[in-house]
Amino acid sequence: MKMSKTGLAVIFAAYVLVPLLLGSNSYVMSLIVAAMIIGGIALAWALLGNLGGMVSFGHSAFFGVGAYVSAILTMKAGVPVLAAMLLGGVGAVVASLAMLPVLRLRGPYFALAILAYAHIFKILATEWTSVTGGSAGLASVPRFPTLMGFDLSSKTGSYLIVLSLLLVFIAAYRVIRSSHYGIALRAMHDSEDATRVVGVNSTLLKALMLFVSAFMTGVIGAFNVHYINFLEPDYAFSGLWVTLPIVAAIFGGYRTILGPLVGAVTVYLVDQLIFKNLIPSGHQLILGALLVAMIIFSPGGLMPLLRKGTRRKHAAA
């Protein structure tokens, strides 16, 4: 895969400069990690939306299942944290298997059915007390280990883990998008019938995208639980894990790979630093307004809007 110079510079800065310059400020680092968690879900959400053509309001299901699977595996089966984190992703994929029958349904049905799943998983997590600890939740979930003398459970260590996860996700997304599967998925956007008659099994391809998206979200959910060390159903399956990523992905441009990440960092930071101070209890109101404005004025996201703006300026000059 080709990597641009800017890309390499950004990766270098992310791995070296950010920890060096900001690593000592744990408030800033925790904001960055939280923004990246949202970014990871936003990326996974956008992958499903862009390649699979599906809007999901139920990604909190994958986030929560990933978190629970990983937490329970480490606490009850003694699985090492990093391995359990990946298994959390696998758990989310298994959970997504239950959604396969819904894939044949049209857009709104899928979107709402997946929301129904999120509710079901939340109720299961609350009621299945013997395994999940019920509504009291799980306390002291194991932290990230210390590897070669470096404490991964520190703010900087966690930051490096989530950064690596995001980079792997981006790389995977790029590989998928440029593969034959990716091209076929793009072909399906506006001409599904025409794509199917040349032999593309659209349900299978969509299912694969659902799996990939579920896996990514599950891993992020698992990362988060080992990062914050506790878990309860209302938190793990909170609607916030859907709302923020959707706003981020739409804001940044869900048809692009970097858009959702840029969107997540922007939206999360602005939300935390400005909106939350403005209206402490109902700050999501502004997020909703942002979402509405984006869909009406620039459904493709901010990136295409900016591009259009500069083009117009060039044309005028």
Binding site: F57, R106, A113, H119, I123, G239, L290, I296
Partner: protein, 290 residues
């Protein structure tokens, strides 16, 4: 045991009345515009909070909130319509995200204005027991069930007899043919939003009068309404009524026989079961497969 079950059936049916009003609004809008309004439950919630305000501030019965709720909710519904109509492309999916956003706005506006506390009526007239033989309920439950039935009768009359109602049905079943008949789809779309708003206003006041409300409840109501339309098969008005009763009864039975924590689970399970087993719903003919 059998008395408990009978009682649960009775409560379920009464609850089904409000559910039907909410689901009919969702179905009407979907019919004319092919848009699922994810902020629909929030419209109901708005009416419920108007009832709360009228009761707590003015000391009046929640019933007096109905005129205010009608105005406020219908204006909001028309606003939703205008926002949705601004979507230029890919309306099926973009309208979902848009109305989801409107839902977030409304939920948080309610949160800001009325705080996150759980509210319920303090009117003893509403809460007084009404006993018919073995059946027990609050007076408000029966009152609003009767109101619901009357409204559904009115809706049925409107859809089948009035010019506008028939136009709504025509646009729902075949948009192009309706256009050829000289019907302006835009005005029927607005009308369907307004009618949905009217039904939501009554449902909201009803829910406040016999239950509890809180800001996050709007979302739950939208999901329930959607479940009912799926049970019914979109496009089937009598189906919606039966679906609403079915959901009400299933929830009441679950609460009676198992636990109230599982109340939501039963709706969801019913929903998924119907999607898998009868993808066209219990009464629908229109395909929803893509």
């Amino acid at each position: 045991m059998s008395e408990l079950i009978l009682q649960a059936l009775y409560s379920g049916v009464l609850q089904g009345g409000s559910y039907a009003l909410i689901a009919l609004g969702l179905a009407l809008v979907f019919g004319t515009m092919k848009v699922i309004n994810l902020a629909h439950g929030e419209l109901v919630l708005l009416a419920a909070y108007m009832a709360y305000t009228v009761e707590s501030r003015l000391g009046l019965s929640p019933m007096f909130a109905i005129p205010v709720a009608l105005v406020l909710v219908c204006i909001t519904a028309v606003l939703v319509y205008f926002l949705v109509s601004l979507i230029r492309k890919d309306r099926e999916l973009n309208s979902l995200i848009l109305t989801y956003g409107i839902g977030i706005i409304l939920t948080n506006a309610v949160l800001l204005i009325w705080s996150a506390d759980v509210r319920s009526t303090s009117s003893s007239w509403m809460q007084d027991a009404l006993v018919f033989g073995p059946f027990y309920s609050m007076r408000s439950e029966v009152l609003f069930f009767v109101v619901s039935v009357a409204l559904m009768g009115g809706l049925w009359w409107w859809l089948s007899k009035s010019w506008y109602g028939r136009a709504v049905r025509a646009v729902s079943s075949n948009r192009d043919a309706a256009k050829l008949m000289g019907i302006n789809p835009r005005s029927t779309e607005i009308v369907s939003f307004i009618v949905a708003g009217i039904l939501a206003s009554f449902a909201g006041v009803a829910i406040f009068s016999y239950g509890v409300i809180q800001p996050a409840f709007g979302h739950v109501l939208t999901v329930k309404a959607f479940i009912i339309t799926v049970l019914a098969g979109i496009g089937s008005i009598p189906g919606v009524m039966v679906g609403a009763l079915l959901l009400g009864i299933a929830e009441a039975l679950t609460v009676t026989l198992a636990s109230s924590a599982l109340q939501e689970l039963v709706g969801m399970s019913l929903f998924l079961l119907v999607l898998f087993v009868m993808p066209n719903g219990l009464f629908g003919a229109a395909g929803r497969r893509g």
